[in-house]
């Protein structure tokens, strides 16, 4: 299939796209009827539970399950060696490439446990209390090993090794000693020494961000049924039913078409539900038990064994001319990967300087394994971390130069035709327009009160397209059904219906969008990377266009005119052949006689969408710091973003507001805290403090529409960008409020108070 569409002619007016209709799944979700992962029940289902390691790093000496098996009501017990052996193999599952052996080992450990909470065994029993009792009867003998949770400690030459066979890749010469540094990557341009030599001003800083969790409110949940004939069914809450199918098939060595995965409604993901934890385990238990098995994680398990994103150390050195021209940048990124390689340091490195034109730079990134949970994608993975360092340093540079922070960024801004720091040449970007939107916003000039500070930061994300399938079927009464394969996390059913309605000329209420299971629609990559409205929307639009072409052909046949004499206008065929003077044929009229013109009306499009335009965000934050306690309140927040064209502006605003607030939480409150034994000390929402309603002001979302010419309606991904700037926007606001540059997140009251005292 071709993957690019021409834009509608200039001057075309859109009826549906850009309006704010009620979402098609709204009533189900406000009445409690929507079925999420844990809400699904199957007759005869067993309760599955997982035994987890109490140690951060240990060798598994033995696992004795005999007593547990003997307990009445216990129907199955599975340990890591019950999974087929896996070769180390990269599998494209949606989040770039993932190593299937690592994913299997993360679902159930084999020789070693690599973090506290690592799954060791699983049971299925007839009740929750019997399953709990069975877990307590499993006897695991561990040989406890020294552990390491801190990223720089893990990089040290004498650090405890998670894997004695791992040698750092990405170095010019092969190292002779194993290391926890899985890989090193570098991006460079120009000559760093020359660049700094020509600088009038240099700023240098070392920044730290903690590991944080995606914090979706719905814990992971699934029901799995392994039939005696080998046919498997899985109901699960995830960001991609096809991802679940692919991973389960590989891990359990089952033919993928024998697994049918039905997507439950998903209670938030933010990247954290782009992999499997419990689904292969539930299938293995179901196979052994001969009955369906349901596994629902507790919040404690979610914190200890899923997510988070990397904790990191970011070192930034910038050199600039006295007029503000940045001439050199040296950025070092050290990202925790958790138990297995795969931190988002690559994206962190590529986005770090993406907003800037800098002639000389070196960005060095380290992917470092350590004894914490295997990191999972989290909204613009890697980018908020490097942006915190770079945007804090740019703010410090602005202060040192006495320059307005927007003026400094405009002076160094990338434009169309500039080469991005990660290589390619930018086209059709809206960065300068977004900076100007904030410069011209009343917030930027509003006076500040006592103990208040204002921070600005920018952010970048690539956005992606990828493979999607969608079908548009016309119903006999002239309404339509749109079928796609992407879980609806934040309103994508609405955008799919709107794009189809726009093309078909139907009121959006007459288009019913469905998210189908893996057997009912062709493959789609998962919902993530801000790809669904862009890529799946492109498939939906093309399918609707194909339907319209078919409808025109049918009208021509009914009227006995040439097909080029038929035009599709507002949901009806219009005859352009003046001699025939036929009254318009509505969609319903054509659909009602479809049997006479070739049978059912519908089209399916499968494509690999290209042309996802990159997005830029500019955030402005006012804080007030209580000098007595160090408590920081966000008192005003404005977030501007180039969004291409907003299909449903309310849900685009929602992405911007929600992303900003997740970033505010990262800046002010959230962090994984480990004790001396490497155990997480705050695995609950009381101690892992996410923002609540009373912490926040309204979040003013400013949508800057610079259309993406590669999408039929000009759309681009919008969900990732808004979490990139807030860490630094908040940090810069606090730094300016108290007159001390803040380097470490979160900006908790004791930390801010200590900075005030030291400053």
């Amino acid at each position: 299939m071709t993957d690019v569409l021409d834009r509608p002619e200039a001057g075309d007016t859109l009826r549906v796209v850009g309006t704010r209709p009620a979402r098609p799944d709204g009533v189900d979700k406000v009445t409690g009827r929507a079925t999420y992962g844990a809400d699904f029940t199957m007759a005869g289902q067993l309760v599955g539970k997982i035994l987890r390691s109490p140690h951060a790093h240990a060798r598994i000496v033995s696992i004795d399950t005999r007593k547990a098996r003997a307990l009445p009501g216990v129907k199955a017990i599975v340990i890591g060696t019950d999974f087929p052996d896996q070769a180390s193999e990269e599998l494209a599952g949606g989040e770039g490439a993932s190593n299937i052996r690592d994913i299997a080992l993360n679902c159930l450990a084999r020789d070693k446990v690599l973090y506290q909470g690592h799954a060791v065994a699983a049971v299925a029993a007839t009740s929750s209390s019997i399953a709990d009792a069975a877990l307590a009867l499993i006897d695991v003998k561990y040989e406890v090993l020294p552990h390491v949770t801190d990223v720089e400690a893990a990089m040290a030459p004498d650090a405890p090794l998670l894997d004695e066979t791992r040698f750092t890749t990405g170095l010019e010469t092969k190292p002779d000693k194993p290391s926890n540094i899985a890989s090193r990557m570098q991006l460079k341009r120009g000559d760093l020494a020359d660049g700094f030599a020509s600088a009038d001003v240099i700023v240098e800083g070392r920044y730290i961000t903690p590991a944080v969790h995606q914090g979706y409110i719905e814990p992971h949940a699934c029901v799995a049924s392994f039939g005696a004939d080998g046919q498997c069914q899985v109901w699960a809450s995830s960001q991609g039913q096809f991802m679940i199918r692919a991973y389960c098939a590989k891990i359990l060595n089952i033919e993928a078409s024998d697994i049918r995965v039905t997507p439950a409604e998903i209670g938030g993901g933010f990247g954290g539900k782009t992999t499997v934890y419990i689904e292969p385990v539930a299938l293995a238990l179901s196979k052994q038990a001969g009955a369906p098995v349901k596994i629902v994680m507790t919040r404690d398990e979610v914190f200890r064994a899923t997510g988070p994103t990397s904790g990191a150390v970011i070192e930034v050195k910038l050199g600039a001319k006295s007029d503000g021209t940045i001439v050199a940048a040296d950025v070092v990124l050290k990202y925790q990967a958790g138990a297995f390689p795969g931190s988002p340091v690559g994206a962190g490195a590529m986005t770090a300087l993406a907003c800037y034109n800098i002639p000389n730079f070196l960005i060095t990134g380290y992917d470092v394994v350590n004894n914490t949970p295997k990191v999972a994608a989290y909204r613009a993975p890697g980018a908020p971390i490097s942006a915190f360092g770079v945007e804090s340093a740019v703010d410090e540079l602005a202060e040192k130069l006495g320059m307005d922070p927007i003026a400094l960024r405009l002076k160094n801004a990338v434009h169309d035709g500039d080469k991005a720091a990660y290589g390619p040449t930018f086209k059709n970007i809206g960065y300068v327009e977004t900076l100007e939107a904030i410069a011209n916003h009343p917030h930027y000039k509003a006076p500040l009160g006592p103990n208040q500070g204002r921070g600005l930061a920018v952010g970048f994300w690539f956005n992606v397209g990828g493979e999607s399938t969608a079908a548009v079927n016309i119903v006999e009464d002239g309404s339509a059904v749109v079928i796609s394969g992407n879980p609806d996390i934040g309103g994508s059913r609405a955008s799919m219906a709107m794009m189809a309605a726009e093309v078909l000329g139907l009121p959006v209420e007459h288009v019913r969008p469905i998210v189908a299971d893996t057997a009912s629609i062709g493959f789609s990559m998962l919902t993530g990377g801000s790809r669904t409205t862009f890529a799946t929307g492109m498939a939906v639009t093309q399918a609707a266009q194909k339907v319209v072409e078919d409808l025109k052909r049918r009208a021509a046949e009914i009227w006995d005119v040439a097909v080029d004499k038929v035009e599709w206008v507002n949901g009806s065929a219009v005859c352009l052949d003046a001699a025939k003077a036929k009254p318009d044929l509505t969609l319903a009229a054509i659909a009602g006689q479809s049997a006479k013109t070739g049978g059912p009306i519908g089209a399916t499009i499968a494509l690999n969408a290209q042309g996802a335009g990159p997005g830029f965000g500019v955030h402005l934050c006012d804080v007030e710091v209580d000098p007595e306690t160090g408590h920081v309140s966000v008192v005003r927040y404005t977030a501007a973003q180039d969004v291409g064209k907003a299909i449903h502006p309310s849900y685009v605003e929602g992405q911007v507001q929600g992303g900003a607030v997740q970033g505010i939480g990262w800046a002010l409150n959230e962090e994984y805290v480990f004790d001396g034994k490497g155990a997480m000390e705050n695995p609950g929402f009381l101690d892992y403090r996410m923002p609540v309603a009373s912490d926040l002001p309204m979040i003013d979302a400013v949508l800057v529409e610079v259309a993406n010419p590669r999408h039929p309606f000009g759309a681009k991904g919008v969900g990732e960008v808004p979490i990139v700037p807030p860490l630094a926007a908040v940090g810069n606001a606090v730094s300016r409020a108290i007159g001390v540059r803040m380097h470490d997140l979160p900006l908790s009251p004791p930390r801010v108070r200590a900075a005030i005292d030291a400053g």
Partner: protein, 160 residues
């Protein structure tokens, strides 16, 4: 030893058998099939399981099912009158105050409890009242607007 419990849920009499450790949330979801109330944490921190017991807003994950004996419980399933949505439910849809929708039942139950006791809350009052209901998707902006707007509409309806 299971205990026989009788209570009123959304105006209707119910009875079920409760394990000693069963929470009201478990009873609603597993015994009565009312899965609109969600478990996000099981520790009373997220509010996704909010229900009203004898007029008081509680986290149903923190209350034992056996304690429901003889009490009147209202859940999200009882909020609409038949097929007519409550103004809060309508306003949540209208303002796009939900994204994934998982926290929505709890937020709606909590917001209704607020408006039942304080028909004209300030934005600050709404924010503090809903501080026990975590939402990770929306940043609360549209949630607060929806609650304020629903309150305004309900006040107007009362005058008219």
């Amino acid at each position: 030893m299971k205990q026989h419990v009788t209570a009123t849920v959304n105006g209707d009499p119910v009875e079920f058998l409760s394990d000693p450790g069963m929470t009201l949330l478990d009873a609603l979801r597993d015994e009565l099939g009312l899965t609109g109330s969600k478990e996000g944490c099981g520790s009373g921190d997220c509010g996704a399981c909010s229900v009203v017991v004898d007029g008081r807003l509680v986290c149903s994950c923190l209350m034992l099912a056996a304690e429901a004996e003889g009490h009147r419980i209202e859940t999200i399933e009882g909020m609409a009158e038949g097929s007519v949505l409550h103004p809060l439910q309508r306003k949540f849809i209208e303002h796009a105050a939900l994204q994934c929708g998982f926290c929505t039942p709890g937020l709606l139950v909590a917001a209704k409890a607020l408006l039942d006791s304080n028909p004209d809350p300030s934005e600050t009052e709404v924010r503090y009242w809903l501080a026990g209901n975590l939402c990770r998707c929306t940043g609360y902006d549209k949630v607060i607007r929806a609650v304020m707007d629903a309150g305004a509409e309900m006040r107007q309806a009362r005058v008219a």
